[in-house]
Symmetry: C2
Subunit: 233 residues, 2 copies
DNA sequence: AAGTGGTCTAGACCACCTT
DNA sequence: AGGTGGTCTAGACCACTTA
């Protein structure tokens, strides 16, 4: 009874705080834990069948990832996202994606560009088939591959974290109807500029893509009214 | 004897893990704990006179800040910084500072610009007086104020974390002799562009500033040879 | 002043490495 | 197989908020 390792799925290697962190992250990104949700250590202990220490460490790591906010003697809550933060995140995206696209245009090999085209075709096929989850995955892969080409793992990390935050509210507010098609056009502008090795055009195209995404997101967000009322002080 | 709160300086409010986190961060940024240093929980327990749990949480938070790397069942080490990471960090700086300067040029009020000039004058005075710590502080304040004007707190956060990383190696390798003066010129270019409300010029000036800083840093770093030999796998 | 829930301690457990 | 050191448990402690 000593150590709680008798559970069935603990599988190969790793730590409990790692598993808990991944599980909670999935629940936040997946919309099960909505922004503002209190994450009480005791409840989580019961759910995972372990003691408080690994739970707390998982929450600390999630705070480091920006998904959770911990206040001393107050506990953890799923991070709230307001209009200011949305603007900030997309502004950062504008700067980072611009630089990344710039670098990609300078160093991308033909097979790498071909891979981008491939992903983009898959994305459009998924969109045409009404497979919104598949479309979202290919969209993520598109930006991931762009980051991989650039080689800047630190920047990719920042973008992935922000993507997690954005996803928590995108899935709540959705896209404008015409936005999906607009995304495809913008992606092709990025691909074409990279293929042409035009660093300035690639940077500009990536920035436009970000600005448009931000506008669409905010229009959806504000369209729903200020339904989020009571926040942390 | 139960709780270790009988120490003298625990003072007002806060948690032990918070104090430990701050203390370790200071030691890393201050160069007492060099990159690669093992941070053993047991040692830290002895030093701070507390048990392992708050120590571990402090380390998790520092990992979130990017100052520490924790590997499962391996423990924590002060993060190593290699040439790749230096390039990545400055590349991110190029994107972010560019955007921030752009926004500043669009929205900065005359008093805010005046404040920038003021800080810059103080920095140059400190440099002329040979006060390198004062100069570094004013340099930090310059960029902090730039971030404050932009209003993008998320971006400022990223920059501050990276600044912490850079400082850990800057203090080891120093500046090239001419670099300090060059910094002043580049700062004035940024200030003037913002004062003129020229967003494109401000963005360009900020990016040039980053590129030059990166070049100087790398030339110093490489000039010292590959003295860092054994790393984490 | 009782409850809720975050924080901390002491020590057991166990993964990994060295002998 | 023994040591080192990371991980986890059980429960005590205490800050903050209800009444």
């Amino acid at each position: 009874m000593t150590k709680g390792m008798d559970a069935d799925e603990s599988a190969i290697g790793g730590t409990n705080y790692g598993r808990v962190r991944d599980a909670i992250r999935d629940r936040i990104v997946g919309g099960i834990y909505l922004p503002g949700t209190r994450l009480k250590v005791h409840d989580l202990c019961d759910q995972f069948g372990i003691s408080s220490n690994p739970i707390r460490e998982a929450l600390q790591q999630l705070q480091g990832e920006g998904l959770v906010v911990i206040l001393p003697n107050k506990g953890a809550t799923v991070r709230l996202i307001d209009e200011h933060m949305i603007r900030h995140i997309y502004e950062i995206g504008e700067g980072l994606d611009g630089i990344l696209a710039n670098r990609c245009a300078a160093i991308a090999t033909p097979p790498q560009v071909e891979r981008l085209r491939d992903i983009q075709h898959h994305m459009e096929a998924a969109a045409a088939a009404g497979d919104s989850e598949g479309r979202a995955n290919y969209n993520g892969e598109f930006h991931t591959h762009l980051g991989a080409i650039s080689g800047n793992t630190e920047a990719v990390d920042i973008r992935r974290r922000h993507q997690n935050l954005i996803r928590t509210i995108r899935q709540r507010y959705g896209y404008s109807p015409y936005r999906i098609e607009q995304i495809h056009v913008e992606h092709w502008a990025i691909i074409d500029a990279i293929a042409a090795r035009d660093v300035a055009a690639a940077e500009l195209a990536a920035r436009i893509h970000c600005v448009r995404s931000c506008e669409d997101m905010l229009s959806r967000y504000k369209g729903f009214g200020a339904e989020v009322s009571e926040h942390e002080k």
